[in-house]
Symmetry: C2
Subunit: 431 residues, 2 copies
């Protein structure tokens, strides 16, 4: 099989129309799909509602003021600047018309395609309680992270000037709803920052007295990890002073409290890490395209959708499986499926057969606080504690480097990480 | 004269009450005033509406996506962490009651003082047209800079997806109102970024075709600089392609246009750099305290206000003079007056006489685009062009280093500057 990527390529001459590939979403799935088309005879358009790609696995560090937003995000068009056949548009896709093969933007602009790769991802979901969102923000985008950072830092500022002890305690109580990786990483970082980064800067309050409560509805935290690692993470969290409560279903979220059954936990800062719902674009593909309860599209083995071989769905918006096992909603799942869909587009353009998508599990990690982590690499290879954290750091610098200049990341990000988030501690959009 | 700072100091023992100094505002004036009290027998409270000190001379670089917000801001409490006698509160001061010697915060908290240093600065002013603010944002804070950056970057994004040529031209026209240093620095940087940083990243538009129009009501730009330097700056701006128009009074600012007399300039992005008004706190000090038309307090030669020897006003909120010449509203004016007021507080505490404030003009600079600048160092010492820019860079790294770790600034800021604002190019708070 000859790769188009290895052929010599000339720019589209007047009149010559190369196949048009439209990629919706520039998260991991969309970005890595777009890169496959570098130096191919295609016309690629990438649409995203924001102007930047976000390195999502480190969003929790922006939310906790360890890293600055600019440390983990880069303009999408800059990332794809060396692909002359690829254009980037910032805009919200309102719907896709599969019969006419166009996507329609919020301003009415129509984007025609020959092949569509839908990588629009997921947002956090409040299930039947959309009103909880205003009280308990979730963490999916840079804007989300800036909002959580604002609330987190503002709570300490307000506590410093609060004279009423009960109000002060409420301000210094942080509740995180959801014991998955995001919830665990937020819960582990908050007490670390409170005790180390912030402590010497306050005079009236002891920031180390901040309480962090992690609420998980199920029987244990980190349900997607093996039991021994989850237990290790729970021990590490408790050591950091986190109050980990499993089998704790939240029944109500109010501006100043969270209710779990009969208990009312008074807290001014509540963060949501409990559930996701897929982009609405999946449901809008038409009656022939099946979706699950979360709105994710159930794709064919080649990542296309039933009856529409020119439409592919990848990443968090897709229900995919390998050897009967579901592909997890992590960065690697999006990267690998994005690339696989793009390669199948190229196969079709060249008249070749498509390949089935197979997820290669490179392992899954989560950090607990600043210097501990857990990692599951399959085949019973489990790591935990400090060595796991160093491995996690190494991996993340490596991956971050993939989308920015390698040396610059080592200098800047490494430095930002170890200086304990000085410039990252800004409260912006306060009014 | 022995300085208290040189005495050995022990923390306040139970019952001992040291003189309470309240500093309102943590810009250059307030921050440098606070630092004078390090290791003195005083109790210092610094109040600011935001949690960070901003290095204002570089704000225009955040607004033009050269630097990230975190590069030029640091938490106030972190900057003062090594002064155990100093506490920092984040809050808005609503008014000062000089008779009771308290300042009152927005939440009703009362802050008593023995000495007050008012360093609340200025905001941009729209004179009789407050409705222009929504259309033409000004540049005083990090939040302002983020908003201007959002509009600046968004204009190119919208132009890239716009098919109507007239609408596209309006999106690529940027009008800056006001030919002072801020207006000149914004006007010089916009075409530089459009031509170099952004150009290779767009496919449908030529970002270099962006028009930048600088409108100044008076007969020349940079009226506070000597004529030869202002003329040099104007030439440099024209070389960058900036359309510099003097004697151009703006008569109306609309969402899609700016009117100058009979001419209507169609532009989607309009920035305001035309005027300042002092914080309202100056006017609220009572009938015995004189203010000028901009609301600035006319202070005594020791920087205190008439009939209230315990109240000092410094920085942009004060009308000050040395040898009959007004002290300019620049960083050095705020730094020097802040320090002088603080030293006079210490003199009074020790029963010594106060010193008159004398402004030492260290010179004044402005940059034009990325690699040119002008500088006026008094005594006829004028510099311009590239050498001036290198000198400007050296000075600013030196001063930035004063409030952050020197090595870290050299690495990080220098790097951020030369990489042409990669991570800084984020559009946040888009919804």
């Amino acid at each position: 099989m000859t790769s188009v990527a290895q052929q010599s390529v000339t720019p589209a001459a007047g009149g010559v129309q190369f196949p048009r590939v439209l990629i919706i979403g520039a998260g991991f799935g969309g970005l890595y799909a777009a890169r496959v088309f570098r130096d191919t005879l295609t016309q690629v358009t990438v649409v995203d509602r924001s102007n930047h790609h976000t390195f999502q696995p480190l969003l929790y560090q922006v939310a906790t003021a360890v890293l600055a937003p600019s440390d983990i995000a880069a303009p999408i068009r800059w990332l794809l600047r060396k692909q002359p056949n690829t254009e980037v548009l910032m805009g919200e896709v309102e719907r896709v018309d599969p019969d006419r093969r166009v996507a329609i933007l919020d301003n009415g602009t129509e984007l025609p395609y020959d092949y569509l790769i839908l990588a629009a991802g997921a947002r956090h979901s409040y299930f039947a309680h959309p009103e909880w969102e205003a009280v308990a923000p979730g963490l999916k985008s840079i804007d989300d992270a800036i909002e959580i950072r604002r609330r987190f830092l503002k709570a300490f500022e307000d506590a410093e000037r609060e004279s009423d002890p009960a109000a002060r305690e409420a301000l210094l109580t942080f509740v995180i709803i959801g014991g998955g990786p995001t919830g665990v990483e937020l819960a582990g970082m908050l007490p670390t920052i409170a005790r180390h980064t912030l402590r010497g800067d306050f005079r009236r309050i002891d920031t180390a007295s901040a309480r962090v409560i992690l609420l998980e509805g199920g029987p244990r935290i980190l349900p997607t990890f093996p039991e021994d690692l989850a237990a290790h993470a729970e021990r590490d969290l408790r050591e950091l002073g986190v109050d980990v409560r499993t089998r704790s279903m939240v029944t109500s979220v109010e501006p100043n409290a969270v209710c779990v059954g009969d208990e009312r936990i008074v807290a001014r800062t509540v963060l949501w890490a409990a559930g996701n719902t897929a982009s609405p674009l999946g449901r809008l593909l038409g009656p022939s395209v099946p979706v699950d309860r979360a709105g994710r599209v159930i794709v064919n083995s080649d990542l296309s959708v039933p009856d529409r071989p020119e439409i592919f769905v990848v990443g968090d918006l897709a229900v995919m499986s390998t050897d009967g096992k579901p592909v997890p909603g992590v960065a690697q799942g999006a990267i690998q499926s994005g690339r696989a869909a793009a390669r199948n587009v190229l196969h079709s353009i060249r008249g070749e057969g498509r390949a089935d998508f197979r997820y290669w599990n490179k392992g899954d990690m989560a950090t607990i606080g600043r210097y501990k982590a857990i990692g599951d690499f399959g085949h019973g290879i489990h790591v935990a504690g400090h060595p796991a954290w160093w491995f996690w750091l190494f991996l993340h610098i490596l991956y971050l480097a993939g989308f920015r200049n390698r040396l610059s990341v080592l200098i800047e990000w490494g430095y930002a990480f170890f200086r304990y988030g000085l410039g990252a501690r800004l409260i912006t959009r306060n009014r």
